[in-house]
Symmetry: C2
Subunit: 201 residues, 2 copies
């Protein structure tokens, strides 16, 4: 029964990614030893590296998986909502398989750190890093068609603006700076890309 | 002649800070060994640590010195101009004693890294980190009095907004991401805090 077998493989793969995510978030890339990965995942190294060639491949698969799921949130709710979730936890019902913002932040911080320190990683990551940008841009294009977006500024500029703010927010949270007063700042960010209703002055 | 003596001390102190700045920016905090500091500054360790108790004190004095000078730029030209300088180099005539943006970025990145990894440093830095915020807030208050700032959003929110974007920009540059297309993004940031002239729609 190849169908069951594929389901089994998929479930096993997901189990590995979920365990690895919490392990990398907690210990960082270097600190996530094979022994710790075994403990967090609940499988032997043989089973883990049957699915992923090595630790680097596992981390990249994880980062890619996160980026894909985050891109799905962006498509539905926009990048500002992703930022709000980072501040306050996700709004409303969590869907199955959704990445908790804190776990996603952990992976993202680890990506940031390795981008600064590891040129090989930088090259491998470059191909995979466009997903969030593309999802953000597509969402903005749809918002513009719906008449909700300001139309005096290029969509690429608005996309870069939102990504720059997200980058700042991630950096804030990474430093442990207080971010609980940032809700009205995100309101301003959202308003800055929307079609305006304020009176001219 | 105590006057001359004080001038001499001040000049020596500045020589140490300038050399240390380039040394920390190039090698990072841990990599800036005493030997490298001697080379970069052109003084013996005895002379250096006559002026500063230890490497930590030297780094904090440097970060404080940078923050003070950066606050002076903010007071005169605003935080968005600081960001523009980070992208393109300083505009117009450089004044004597001004910190080049690249050198300031180096110190700032080192501060960011140590904030994440060193709780003691976090405590010592907290007292000193408010200068740029205060300078930004004061500048915005003056702009509001002059009728140039939007008046429907609290100045603290606008200050946090600008600081968040700066944080993102620093993180971008730290990762070596392309930042040369960010000029129009900074135009949008600047416009977002200004009194608007766009027509309502």
């Amino acid at each position: 029964m190849p169908r069951v077998s594929q389901d089994h493989l998929d479930a096993r793969r997901q189990q590995i990614l979920d365990g690895a995510r919490s392990c990398f978030a907690r210990h960082g890339y270097e600190g996530a030893t094979v022994r710790r990965l075994e403990d967090a995942i609940g499988l032997s190294r043989g089973a883990i590296f049957h699915h992923f060639r090595d630790k680097e491949s596992l981390f990249l698969a994880l980062a890619e998986d996160d980026a894909q799921r985050m891109a799905a949130v962006v498509a539905e709710q926009g990048l500002v909502q992703v930022m709000r979730d980072l501040l306050t936890g996700p709004s409303g019902q969590r869907t199955a398989g959704e990445v908790p913002p804190a776990a996603w932040l952990g992976t993202r911080l680890e990506v940031s750190r390795r981008l600064r320190t590891d040129p090989d990683f930088q090259a491998r990551w470059a191909e995979r890093s466009q997903q969030l940008t593309i999802a953000t841009r597509n969402r903005l294009l749809r918002q513009r068609e719906a008449g909700k977006l300001r139309d005096d500024i290029d969509v690429d500029v608005l996309t870069s603006f939102l990504e720059l703010v997200l980058e700042g927010l991630i950096s804030y949270l990474a430093k442990g700076l207080p971010a609980d007063d940032l809700e009205p700042v995100l309101d301003l960010v959202e308003e800055s890309v929307r079609r305006h209703r304020r009176e001219a002055s």
